[in-house]
């Protein structure tokens, strides 16, 4: 059914489109700017001011510096270990928790669930947590300190439990009659049936590990163990590009430092932006599942 639009409505529609185009520009331009700056000649970049619509003097030198920097490389390696190992353990724990807490035959499921939800709204604070991990468990300066304290996210646990509860009870019952144990039911029936939500969990946990930096500040002291984000913080926020520009003359240092920063941003962000189109729909799905109220 179409109804003729009034002049006011047409005006609104055009304004709306204009606003959205503006939103696209504001969202994308900073990223475009960084990309162009990273590809620019460092000396010309220094002299340049204002918007960069294209690279100013095409030059890949800063990328060479960034990609040969040992901190960046070890950062990538550490982050990879954390993402893979961390996400695998996250999944294992979350699946076990979600499955047991979705079983009606488990008498303690409600009190345990309540105790878990409570931790979403109240916690001991960063100091007691820090003392526990650093002084009591002695996980300081160990990549495990970045994985173990975050094994299960209550939010993700609830999402997965809701998904598991949606699996028909009679299906599980018939498996039980056929003599399947709980472990078998979980891994052979429940998990394969829940692949979409598990994919969402992999994304949530994986991206979480990839982006995380604060716990590394708290617990990691050896530079060799720094995850990528901590290396990035040094370069981008604390402005220490010295390690990469040592060979340059004093005056050039500043200029090269600038373009190195931009190249670092690109090198650190590209992997995510590449897989982004594939991730997107899963994230949207995850947010929607999370929005379901019980």
């Amino acid at each position: 059914m179409t109804i003729k639009r009034t002049i006011g409505e047409k005006l609104f529609d055009s304004l709306n489109v204009l606003l959205m185009v503006l939103l696209i520009i504001i969202t994308l331009y900073p990223l475009w700017h960084v990309l162009n700056a990273s590809l620019s000649d460092s000396n010309r970049l220094m002299a340049h001011s204002g918007l960069l619509l294209l690279p100013d003097g095409f030059n890949l030198d800063s990328y060479k510096l960034v990609l040969s920097n040992p901190s960046i490389l070890s950062g990538y390696r550490n982050t990879l270990v954390i993402v893979v190992l961390g996400t695998a353990l996250n999944l294992l724990f979350t699946i076990l928790g979600a499955y047991t807490l979705s079983r009606k035959s488990f008498m303690l499921r409600n009190p345990i669930m309540l105790a878990i939800v409570f931790t979403m709204f109240f916690n001991g604070g960063i100091i007691p947590t820090y003392l526990l991990i650093n002084n009591t468990l002695h996980l300081g300066n160990n990549l495990l300190a970045l994985i173990v304290p975050g094994l299960v996210s209550s939010y993700n646990l609830i999402i997965m439990r809701t998904a598991f509860q949606g699996i028909s009870e009679s299906l599980l019952e018939s498996a039980r009659i056929d003599g399947a144990g709980e472990m078998r039911i979980l891994w052979r029936i429940v998990v394969p049936l829940s692949m979409p939500v598990i994919a969402v969990m992999i994304l949530f946990y994986g991206v979480g590990h990839w982006n995380s930096w604060f716990s590394a500040i708290l617990y990691i002291r050896d530079r060799d163990l720094y995850p990528l984000q901590l290396v990035l913080r040094e370069i981008l926020i604390q402005n220490s590009t010295d390690s990469m520009t040592t060979s340059a003359a004093m005056g050039d240092k500043e200029a090269i430092g600038e373009s190195v920063k931009y190249a670092t941003v690109i090198v650190a962000t590209l992997p995510i932006l590449f897989i982004y189109p594939f991730l997107q729909k899963y994230f949207v799905k995850g947010v929607m599942i999370g929005a379901i109220k019980e």
Partner: protein
């Protein structure tokens, strides 16, 4: 009580495997969530690492009093509340507005493009985002060249206390605006289309349809998210503050959590004192959450729990 216990015991014997499967998760929550809550008693003690939690002496509310009387109390409390309030005032309605505007777009492809683009910043790490903000705010950075283009004067934007809140809030909106709309768009897609058809037959204008159908359709979602936001009012995203601030702007940027981090871990190790400060923050949060939930239950029938 014993009857209940024997019931659980019976239940355990019938479902042994389930109990054992639940054990790792239960242990995780006990050790990493509940043990720190117990550890928070050091807020009432004079904790030293050597003596441990048990061995340290009780000092009652001494640390809380010290905090309330210190110069920092008002500064960090004020900054925490103002920064959160800014986020609430500008950051909260922004995705709702965007969702409503997106919903009015006629061209499906265009709508999808806007959405896809607006999600992108969400996927970029906080460190990189803040790195960009710091760089753009520098004296010869992007923001300044825009400011000077319009006749303004360039300055080191992030060294001025007056700018911190604006930069913090604006960059947060830039990063999360698109992604936060997802949940509202999901709620919008759940609205019965017959309502729109019926209203059109009745001759309702588009504005009236937004007002009487679209908005009421997402109100429950808005209220739930608002309660959650209020419950987290004291817990401003302090990781971002740490990345963006510097001693020049502590006047407006230092919040409770960053204060706790500095005095407790990074600069000095006043464990008991900072635990007390952190506990104060958690407590106020919890009270706000329950208050917001009560209020919402009373006025709108929407509640979180």
């Amino acid at each position: 009580m014993t009857r209940k216990l024997s019931l659980v015991w019976l239940n355990y014997k019938q479902n042994k495997v389930i109990y054992w499967m639940a054990l790792p998760v239960v242990l995780y929550f006990l050790v990493f969530k509940y043990l720190p809550m117990y550890g928070a008693v050091i807020a009432f003690k004079e904790y030293t690492v050597g003596k441990g939690i048990w061995g340290s002496e009780w000092v009652g509310l001494q640390h809380f009093q010290d905090f309330f009387q210190s110069y920092y109390f008002w500064r960090v409390l004020k900054n925490t509340l103002i920064l959160s309030f800014y986020q609430l005032l500008f950051g909260f309605p922004a995705p709702i507005l965007l969702a409503l505007l997106l919903n009015e777009l006629r061209h499906e492809m265009f709508k999808r493009t806007v959405q896809t683009v607006s999600y992108i910043p969400h996927f970029i790490s906080l460190v990189v985002i803040c790195g960009m903000v710091v760089d753009f705010s520098s004296r010869d950075g992007l923001f300044n060249s825009i400011i000077t283009f319009f006749g303004g004067e360039s300055s080191a934007l992030l060294s001025e206390p007056g700018n911190f809140r604006t930069i913090y809030t604006a960059s947060s909106i830039w990063q999360e605006l698109g992604f936060s709309t997802i949940i509202y768009l999901a709620a919008l897609s759940g609205i019965n289309p017959e309502l729109y058809d019926a209203s059109m037959v009745d001759g309702a204008s588009r504005l009236r349809r937004v007002w009487h159908i679209t908005l009421p359709g997402i109100i429950p979602m808005i209220v739930i998210l608002l309660i959650l936001r209020i419950g987290g009012l004291m817990e401003i995203g302090f990781e971002k503050v740490i990345l963006l601030y510097n001693p020049n702007v502590y006047d407006t940027a230092d919040v409770i959590s960053t204060f706790v981090y500095r005095k407790g871990i990074s600069e000095s190790a006043e464990f008991s004192y900072t635990t007390a400060v952190g506990l104060f923050q958690s407590l106020v949060n919890f009270i706000l959450l329950i208050g917001a939930n009560r209020l919402s239950k009373a006025v709108s029938d929407n509640k979180l729990f």
